[in-house]
Symmetry: C2
Subunit: 383 residues, 2 copies
């Protein structure tokens, strides 16, 4: 096991009916900016629940934060927050809204051009306190300090982490899932599965519990995915899904182990260049990473095959190929096309992504083993 | 899944060599009281490491906190802290030292008789900030807000919880295990196993990940226990043990599920009356609870048998009996006698414990299903 430091101060408030607790969770004297996305919260009743809980609070609103939140949109909110003296941010939405709100929270305290902190490798900077009401399980942003922001004018999409960006609290009401579009549920399942794999599928870290816990999340997703695809109204299934998404990226399974994240880094480029949904990019790239990097990930791939998919027969290589195939089929079972060609993406994009990573001198994956050349191999594997 | 609120702000600093980080983790201007136990930290080098790290800090010491920390001892430390204006407590030791330090931290801020907060069902009260350097994995106290304190003059042993008693940070260096007496290692394994069972072995909470995570801790303990009994100097085995003990009682596996704790409550009485080690009492009582309460725990006992011990053949009842037997054998494999008779405890003690719970009107276990009468049955089952 590797040495590590872990801290996650977010208060998790979980269950049906818990949105009403906003009344006490948000400081009474706060000047609140409530942020949200395209307006789904008006249809599912969450907007009304939030407003009712905060009826005695000072609340301004900023809507229209898009999927893959956009720098220019967020900067407009920053200006508005400054003009109103906002001192508490409440994100009501999915990962994009929460991520965008983390950017706003940090930008409000940042001197100079906020894009600076996006391109730094890791910052520790003060931020306006933020909290969230989660409407879409997927990114885990509700219980971590990371965020991903896009800048379309430059075709860029970067992640940043700031310890001050852990939400003070996050309210997770699984009934929010009842009215989600099926595509978003599928993307959320894929996102959670991929997050877990990024922290699990490296080498043997001699971290027994971390392995069991990651496998527990993966097995849970495999178990509930068909149920969710068939019926989005079963409370316990929704609760297990929402819980999985949070546990998949709150640091609990990352302690003391190496992490990969090559799939995410490559996927971000596909979103930046072609606007693909984040979850879709992961479904495309992950089987490619497993296949091309299988020598380095050998022990864990065998364990993954055996413990997660129950593939116990055959040679190690056969188990590994079985697990890669099972992963791709799991993603496809969620209605997602897992090949670049199915999205009309070809050689030009592969070349551009390799060029970008080469230009940045980027070495991805655990220990930097995924070179730009390997990125090319990976994308060619999933053409 | 049940609704829940979870928050755990403790910073975990894990790995060999991390004690040196005390220098920066403890506030530079703090008036520190360093608390410890019977002096093992002088033999294993931890005392020196701590002192060296804090050479530029203002540090007073208070040693002699005993196993099952004693009210009168702790109150002496409270008086000393007050006279010195202590504003930061650093517990260097195992669960007893950390628990005792939580009592001291709260007592320092409590008006009136501190035993008052011990007998309240749950308090939210300010406390002097505390941190820990863990020397003995067992209780999980390094990453939770609970503590158990004894008052021998009254034969009493009670637990309290105070949100202000989460350690600010805890340093876990697995090499501390290298020089522990084998008995303490065995007790720590039992304690961790029992903590996990208390949060797992109730009814089906429809909480899939929580089940997998609890089972992951249990399977890890079963895997590493014989290795630890044979060799206490293997770093990764020690790291997995220390990690298990913390994860077993930091709230991570308790979210959204019912909890039992009857075994602990009954065990505390055995310690109060006969001075048995905490871990030993758990090894005695747990198989009794499983056996007597098996109707209520049926589904989970079958799952426990199948998933943790791999008992997949036979009727459900045979699986359950197999699991209870395997649990007792696991405890015995650690060198602990699991029957009351082996500790010269008989009918008089059983009657006294039943009398105490009756007098208190205590209903133990998930949903209060363990009545004083059931406590009698449980203890008779493990005579």
């Amino acid at each position: 096991m590797q040495n590590f430091t872990f801290q996650n101060p977010t208060k998790l408030v979980f269950g049906k009916g818990e949105i009403a607790r906003l009344a006490k969770l948000v400081p009474a004297d706060a000047k609140v900016m409530m942020t949200y996305g395209g307006g789904s919260i008006f249809k599912n009743g969450i907007y009304e629940q939030v407003k009712e809980a905060l009826v005695n609070h000072n609340v301004t609103e900023f809507g229209g934060i898009e999927p893959n939140p956009e720098y220019n949109t967020l900067m407009r909110c920053v200006v508005e927050c400054k003009s109103k003296g906002v001192d508490f941010l409440l994100a009501v939405g999915g990962g994009s809204v929460i991520d965008g709100t983390k950017f706003i929270a940090t930008a409000l305290k940042w001197e100079g051009d906020p894009w600076e902190f996006m391109i730094k490798p890791g910052i520790t900077h003060s931020a306006v306190p933020l909290a969230s009401v989660l409407t879409l399980p997927a990114t885990g942003s509700e219980m971590n300090n990371g965020a991903v922001v896009s800048r379309r004018e430059r075709n860029e999409k970067f992640a940043f982490h700031n310890p001050a960006c852990f939400p003070v609290f996050s309210i997770l009401d699984p009934t929010a899932i009842y009215s989600l579009p099926a595509k978003q549920v599928a993307n959320g399942i894929i996102d959670t599965f991929a997050h877990t794999l990024e922290q699990y599928l490296t080498f043997d870290n001699k971290a027994l519990i971390q392995d069991y816990w990651a496998e527990g999340i993966l097995k849970t997703l495999i178990e509930i995915a068909p149920k969710l695809m068939e019926n989005q109204q079963d409370y316990d299934t929704c609760a297990n899904f929402m819980y999985a998404a949070t546990m998949g990226l709150n640091g609990f399974i990352a302690m003391g182990v190496a992490q990969d994240w090559a799939t995410h880094m490559i996927g971000h480029e596909l979103t930046a260049l072609h606007g693909l949904d984040h979850g879709v990019t992961l479904a495309i790239v992950h089987p490619g990473v497993m296949s091309v990097m299988r020598e380095a990930k050998w022990t864990k791939l065998v364990q993954y095959a055996e413990r997660v998919f129950g593939i116990t027969k055959g040679t190690d290589l056969e188990k590994i190929e079985g697990a890669i195939n099972a992963t791709e089929q799991f993603y496809r079972s969620l209605g997602v096309a897992t090949r670049l060609g199915e999205h009309n993406i070809g050689e030009a994009t592969i070349a551009e992504i390799v060029r970008r990573f080469t230009e940045r001198g980027a070495l991805l994956g655990e220990g930097g083993i995924v070179t730009p050349e390997k990125v090319g191999e990976i994308l060619n594997r999933v053409k």
